[in-house]
Amino acid sequence: MTGRQKLIGSICTLLGASLLAFVLGVIAPGDPALEVLSMNGLNEPTEAEIAAKREELGLNLPIWKQYMHWLGMVLQGDLGVSYITQQSVSAELIQRLPITLSLACGALAFAIGFGIPGGIILAMFHNRWIDYAGRAWITIWTAFPSFLNAILFIIAFSEVLHWLPTSGYGTWQHFIMPSIVLGLGTSAVLMRLTRAAVLDILPQQYIVTARAKGIHMFILMLRHVLLNAFIPLITVIGNYFGGILGGAVIAEVIFSLPGIGRFAVEGIFRRDYPVMQGYVLFMACVYVLFNTVVDILYGLIHPQLRRSEVLK
C-alpha cells in the first residue's frame, strides 16, 4: 500500500470510530434535552420547554443530519459538556490524556524492553533449560488476569517491601508499578513472537553468509538477526498497543491514576454519555495515530515497501 492509501485508510477508520461514538450517544437511554435542561437548573421542565430544547439541539433532524452536525462540532474540538462536571468534555479529557499516555508508553516501553531481549535470549538457548523456563513464564503471563497481578504487585512491592508508592499520582515512581502491570502480558507475547522470529532467522542462508565474513557475534545479532526479526514484530506491536490502551483503565482504577480511563469509568457510573463518547473517540485517535507511526517505521525497516525501483 502506498502512503496515500494508508492515510485514506486511517481517515476512514477515524470516521468509522466517530460513527460508533455517535451511535453510542443515540442508543443511550435518556433524553439529551432533559439532561441539558436539568443541567441549566430546570428540574421539572414543561413539555413546551423540552420540545423547544429538542429543536434547539437538532434532535428532530434526520439521524444523518444529526451525525453531520455532531461530527462538525467534534472536528472543531467540541465534544459537548459533561452532564456531571458541567465542563467541556474535550478539555476534561485533554487534561487527563498525558497521564494515560505516559502509562501506556511506559507499559509499551517495558513490554518491548523486556520482551524482545528476552525472546532473543530464549532463541539463543533454544531447547535448553532457560528456554523451557522462559516458555512457562510466557504462558503464565499471557493468561494472568492483570487486576490480580496489580493486587499482588501492590502487596509485594508497596506493602511488604515498601519500595514503591501504592497508588496515586505525582512522581515518576507512581508510574512504575502500573506500567509494569499493564505491560507484562504484552511483554510475554512479544517474547514469544521474538523467540519464534529469531529461531526462524538463525538458519537462514544470509546468516551463514554473514558469519562467513567473520563479523562479530554482537553485530551479527544486532544487524542481521534483529533487524529482520523486527519486520514481523513491528506489525503486531501496533495491534498490541490497542490492548495496552484499553487495559490502561484497569491500571488507572487500581492505582488511582487520574487518567482518561478512570474518568470514563466514573462517567459510566454517573451515566455521563458525552464523556463515554469522548473517551471512545480519544482512544481511537491515539490508537490510529500510533498505528500510522508504526506503518512509517515499518516502511523504514522494510526496504521493499520504501522503493520499488528495480535496477537493470
Binding site: 538458519p203 537462514q204 542462508q205 544470509y206 551463514v208 553468509t209 554473514a210 558469519r211 562467513a212 565474513k213 567473520g214 563479523i215 562479530h216 557475534m217 553485530i219 544487524r223 542481521h224 533487524l227 529482520n228 519486520i231 525497516i301 522494510h302 526496504p303 521493499q304 522503493r307 525501483e309 528495480v310 535496477l311
Partner: protein, 315 residues
C-alpha cells in the same frame, strides 16, 4: 610443493530425527596455492558439506572428525573467536543460493563493507568496492551499492556474492554452487568473474558445483564425490578425456552434448549407503569384490587418483 589447504580423513555426521546420517566419509584432499579446484557430484554427495567444514559453518547438529589444515594450522581446533579471524580474511565463502544469501533488509554497500572490514589500510572502501564491481561488469557501481537485494536479478546477486568473497582478498575462496539456478548468460558472467578474480589476485579457489560444463571451463583440477566419498581426483583435461572412475564416466555420458544417456539406478540413500563401493548397484563394471570391499584410493597415473578396483594394483 606444500598444499595450502588439506582435508585429512574428514568425516561429517548429522544427527537427524531418522538417526545419524553420514554426509562425508573419510575424505582426504589437498589444495595447492593458486589453483582452481572443482568438486563435482550430485546433490547429497557431500561436496557442499565438505566445503563448509573448512569454515566451521555447519549447522549445530553436525559433528566433524578428521583434520583440516590451512597454512599448516589445524582449523578444527580453533575456537569460535579465533575462527572469526580466519573467516572472510583468510578463507572466504561464496555461498550457494543467491536468492536467499543476501540479507534482504540491508543495503548492498553495508553487506559488502562487512567483507572488507578487516582491511584497515584501505581508506576509500566504497571506491575499492566500486572497482571490484566494475571488474565483474557492473556499469553503475555507486548506484548498485545503494540498492537492496530485492532490486537485483539472480545473476547480479551471484556476482555480488562473488565480490563479497573476493574483496576481502582471502588466500582461499570457497565457491558453493556459484552457478546454481542461473540462466546461460548469467552463468557465463559469474564464471568469468570468478576466473578473473582468481587469475588477477592469485587466489586459490575451491569450486563446488554439479555443473560439469562450469567445472570444465573453470577448473585446473577436479575431484568427484559420490555418496560422501571422494571417488576420483584428476586434472580437468584428462578427467574429461579419460575418466578414472565409472561414476565419472556415467556422469560424462549423461551430459546433453554426449547424448544425455541417463545413469542407471537411483541416487543413494544416505541413511543406507550400499556396502563396499557405494556405486556398485549402478556400475556396469561391478564385480563381487565391489559389493564386499571398499576399493582403495589409488594413484594410477601422474596426479590421477581413483577409488575403484579397475585401477587397484592387485587386479
Amino acid at each position: 610443493m606444500k598444499p595450502l589447504l588439506s582435508f585429512e580423513h574428514i568425516s561429517c555426521y548429522f544427527s537427524t530425527s531418522f538417526g545419524e546420517l553420514q554426509a562425508v566419509r573419510d575424505v582426504s584432499l589437498d589444495l595447492y596455492e593458486g589453483e582452481i579446484f572443482g568438486l563435482i557430484g550430485e546433490t547429497g554427495s557431500g561436496k557442499s558439506v565438505l566445503g563448509l567444514t573448512a569454515l566451521q559453518l555447519l549447522p549445530a547438529n553436525a559433528r566433524v572428525t578428521g583434520e583440516v589444515r590451512f597454512e599448516n594450522k589445524s582449523l578444527l581446533q580453533l575456537s569460535e573467536k579465533e575462527m572469526r579471524h580466519v573467516r572472510g580474511k583468510k578463507i572466504a565463502l561464496i555461498p550457494q543460493n543467491p536468492a536467499s544469501s543476501l540479507n534482504p533488509v540491508l543495503k548492498i554497500r553495508t553487506q559488502l563493507r562487512e567483507a572488507v572490514r578487516h582491511q584497515k589500510e584501505l581508506k576509500d572502501k566504497d571506491g575499492y568496492l566500486a572497482s571490484w564491481l566494475q571488474a565483474v561488469s557492473f556499469s553503475y557501481p555507486i548506484k548498485l551499492l545503494q540498492s537492496y537485494p530485492f532490486q537485483l536479478s539472480g545473476g547480479m546477486k551471484q556476482r555480488i556474492l562473488t565480490i563479497m568473497g573476493a574483496a576481502g582478498q582471502p588466500k582461499l575462496l570457497i565457491a558453493d554452487e556459484p552457478t546454481k539456478g542461473l540462466d546461460a548468460p548469467a552463468r557465463h558472467d559469474v564464471v568469468e568473474a570468478l576466473r578473473n578474480v582468481c587469475r588477477q589476485t592469485g587466489t586459490t579457489l575451491l569450486v563446488i558445483t554439479h555443473d560439469l560444463h562450469v567445472a570444465q571451463i573453470l577448473c585446473d583440477r577436479i575431484g568427484v564425490m559420490y555418496a560422501g566419498r571422494l571417488v576420483e581426483s584428476n586434472d580437468t583435461d584428462s578427467l574429461f578425456a579419460t575418466p578414472g572412475h565409472p561414476y565419472t564416466e556415467a556422469l560424462l555420458l549423461a551430459r546433453p552434448t554426449a547424448g544425455m544417456k541417463p545413469m542407471a539406478g537411483d541416487s543413494p540413500n544416505l541413511l543406507q549407503v550400499p556396502s563396499g563401493c557405494a556405486f556398485h548397484p549402478r556400475c556396469s563394471y561391478a564385480s563381487e569384490m565391489c559389493v564386499e570391499q571398499l576399493p582403495p584410493w589409488t594413484e594410477y597415473g601422474q596426479k590421477k587418483y581413483a577409488r575403484c578396483f579397475l585401477h587397484a594394483p592387485s587386479t
